[in-house]
Amino acid sequence: QEGSTLQQVQQRDELNCGVNTGLVGFAAPDASGNWTGFDIALCRAVAAAVLGDPNKVRFVPTTGQTRFTALSSGEVDVLARNSTWTFSRDTDLALDFVGVNYYDGQGFMVNRELGVTSAKELDGATVCIQTGTTTELNLADYFRANNLSYTPVNIDSNAEGEQQYMAGACDAYTTDVSGLAATRAAFADPENHIILPEIISKEPLGPAVRHGDNNWGDIVRWTLNALVAAEEYGVTSRNLEELVRSSTNPEVQRLLGTTDDLGAMLGLDAEWARRAILAGGNYGEIFAANIGEQTPIGLARGLNAQWTQGGLLYAPPFR
């Protein structure tokens, strides 16, 4: 295999990024085929960091089946497809999850009319579930652990799941809470559907790269960290130019490459993080623009707030 992933990407002058085939808010093509979403923004940030242009990305839609193969076979350089970081995927599947860009958990959505307020009351229910995901395993485990019975209705895509749920073909729809929120947001009557309080699993979603190319892993990891750190330090796409000139915070200076050429350690130039942040803003900006409370998806920051705000986002120091 000639060269590292970085070299390959630079030679190709394009980043191949594996994404979901269509999950509004995270990754979906619009009517003219432009991809937008939370995961998309991360891809663009990496492309900006590595190639200098956030648009030099090719989005490869992957299904639940094809995503990991696409990555391990080299079809994509990075997989940013709301995939859960699990032990076996990290080890047995020979992937490297380089961080978490969204802390999620699996939940249930039910129709308000059912009068159900807790997942424990779902005994005997019919539950719609997307095949081939960790949610399938979590669901089985949860109901077993609580000694409840259920009938799964396997569905093949999110759109199909919504359809089934809306028609009442299942009592509950289960997937990651973020997905539930996104789905509910698109309903004509969101107020009639509630997301139950139980979160039955930990779903750290994050970008993954192939095992073995640590340098490339570092690049993706630190691009993500740069976005998170940028928010922590108040670096936004709007004030970035100014901070480059005026910031006195040494951490910010190192992040933006005005002192200490950290980029060289990654094999990039000094301004890599600037470009990554400029691509779509810092983590907070990306969140707000794609899935935040102002968007139809309407997700609160919750666990995904900075550690300083009581969340779990915690970028290691740039030094």
């Binding site: 269509g22 009517a31 919504e162």
Partner: protein
């Protein structure tokens, strides 16, 4: 008792009777009804049942169709319009979604300013097909080509094609029309280069790529002429070898070098931009064009008296026919990368086309084998006795006849394959039926719309497939009549 009875009945007719009209017992329409609908108790029951079915279908779907809305920006708006026009409880079809997402259904995510390119490619396809498909009838050819030319040029103007390309398309379409009027077979060279032109138009990039792809078979042909003097069969092997080696080893670099010397590029459009019917038709046409020759080779191999060749082709054909297409598509999307040298990864559409081709070719081989088997042995013997070698006999005598016999089977394989292009949805491509409809439904505007996309896509598939099967029936009848 006598043997002379005959004398007593001896009879000669002097005046011939004129033909009379049949006795008319009832008026025409009533007679027809009685004969065709009510000719017995069972028939009467069947007729009533038939009417019941028709009535049920009409009663169920009529107001839904009657209350169609063609112009709205979202499903909610549609429902408002329906409620406003036909009352609160009225149901109605919201065809506005097709109108709204027409481009997406037809072109997928192809860049909007380049829509004229697929349009032109499709228009030129008709010219390329003229000598192959429409050679049988001058009227049909004239109609098809004229309509194609007008429609294509009109669509290109509407879609804002650059003047240069417009002129090019006009030249080819009108030129093709004129040439086909004189001698349709003169268009064959165009048919041969068309696949490469088509690829170039659709995907863009440098023209040198297709040119050097074309150089491969050219070199192969040279090798064949040289070697086949020694032995024709070795000639074929050499030709294939030379072609493949050239493609693998030199074509890429040569094209890149040439491009550096003289740039012949148009804007590149990547595979992930393909979707909707553009994707189906691209995969379908490519699969059809490639599976036919492959199928012929497989069929000949299966008919061969060389044990090894025969066994290999039997194994191949039976294996492919024994597994579902969807598993082969999985192979394309999941496993092909295992089988290729590490680090190579090529276009998913191309991989899918390869698998679809292989799949169709196995079926095609069986169809053609049937045609070969139907030929009388005398044809082979006559060819032998005239001194034609194997390849010439196949090319000039056997295949033309076998293919004609197999036309119905070939076309139904094509139809099956075209329908199967919808399965690419399972490997993440945007087929018009499922992926595209899911994508449309994922947007807030059209969430919850269900029937209309399916009916629309189904209707288009029906038109194409039904048209193909009718045309093949026409062709079959025509060929039968031709040589009698």
């Amino acid at each position: 008792m006598s043997d002379t009875h005959a004398q007593t009945v001896s009879f000669v007719r002097d005046t011939m009777l004129p033909a009379a009209t049949p006795p008319v017992r009832e008026a025409g329409a009533i007679k027809w009804l009685r004969e065709n609908l009510f000719s017995g108790p069972v028939n009467t029951i069947l007729t009533l049942l038939g009417f019941a079915i028709v009535w049920f279908l009409i009663a169920t779907f009529w107001d839904w169709f009657a209350h169609s809305v063609w112009n709205a920006g979202s499903l909610a708006e549609c429902r408002q319009i329906i409620a406003a026009t036909w009352g609160e409880s009225a149901r109605g079809a919201c065809w506005a979604v097709i109108r709204d997402r027409w481009n997406q259904y037809v072109f997928g995510f192809y860049p909007m300013d380049l829509y004229w390119r697929p349009t032109m490619t499709f228009g030129l396809l008709m010219v390329a097909l003229a000598p192959v498909l429409f050679s049988a009838s001058r009227t049909i050819r004239r109609t098809v080509l004229a309509i194609t030319a007008v429609l294509t040029l009109w669509a290109m103007v509407v879609l804002g094609a650059p003047a240069g390309w417009l002129a090019f398309a006009a030249a080819v379409l009108i030129g093709g029309f004129l040439i086909s009027e004189r001698h349709v077979l003169w268009l064959l060279p165009f048919s041969i280069v068309y696949p490469l032109l088509g690829v170039w138009f659709l995907w863009g990039g440098s023209l040198w790529g297709p040119i050097f792809v074309l150089v491969g078979p050219l070199l192969g042909w040279i090798a064949w002429t040289l070697v086949s003097r020694i032995a024709p069969m070795l000639g074929v092997v050499a030709a294939i070898l030379v072609t493949v080696l050239f493609w693998l080893l030199y074509a890429g670099d040569a094209a890149a070098d040439a491009e550096r010397l003289l740039s012949l590029s148009i804007q590149t459009v990547r595979s992930d931009r393909f979707g909707g019917f553009l994707l189906s038709v691209t995969i379908g046409v490519a699969g059809i064009a490639l599976s036919l020759p492959l199928g012929i080779i497989l069929a000949l191999a299966r008919q061969s008296d060389m044990f090894l060749v025969k066994t290999l082709s039997v194994i191949f054909i039976e294996f492919i026919r024994g597994v579902p297409l969807i598993t082969l598509l999985f192979v394309a999307s999941l496993l092909l990368n295992y089988f290729l040298p590490p680090g190579t990864s090529f276009d998913i559409i191309l991989r899918v086309i390869i698998m679809v081709t292989i799949f169709a070719a196995a079926y095609m081989a069986e169809v053609i084998r049937g045609g070969l088997a139907a030929l009388p042995k005398g044809q082979y013997e006559a060819a032998d006795a005239l001194g034609l070698d194997y390849w010439k006999a196949q090319r000039l005598i056997i295949l033309p006849q076998a293919l004609k016999i197999s036309i119905p089977g070939i076309v139904s394989t094509f139809i099956g394959m075209f329908k199967d292009t919808t399965l690419v949805t399972f490997v993440g491509l945007y087929d018009p039926l499922k992926s595209m409809s899911d994508a449309v439904r994922a947007s807030t505007d059209w969430k919850g719309i269900y029937w209309e996309p399916y009916i629309f896509v189904g209707a288009i598939f029906f038109l194409i497939c039904f048209g193909m099967s009718r045309y093949s029936m026409y062709l079959e009848r025509r060929l039968q009549r031709d040589h009698r």
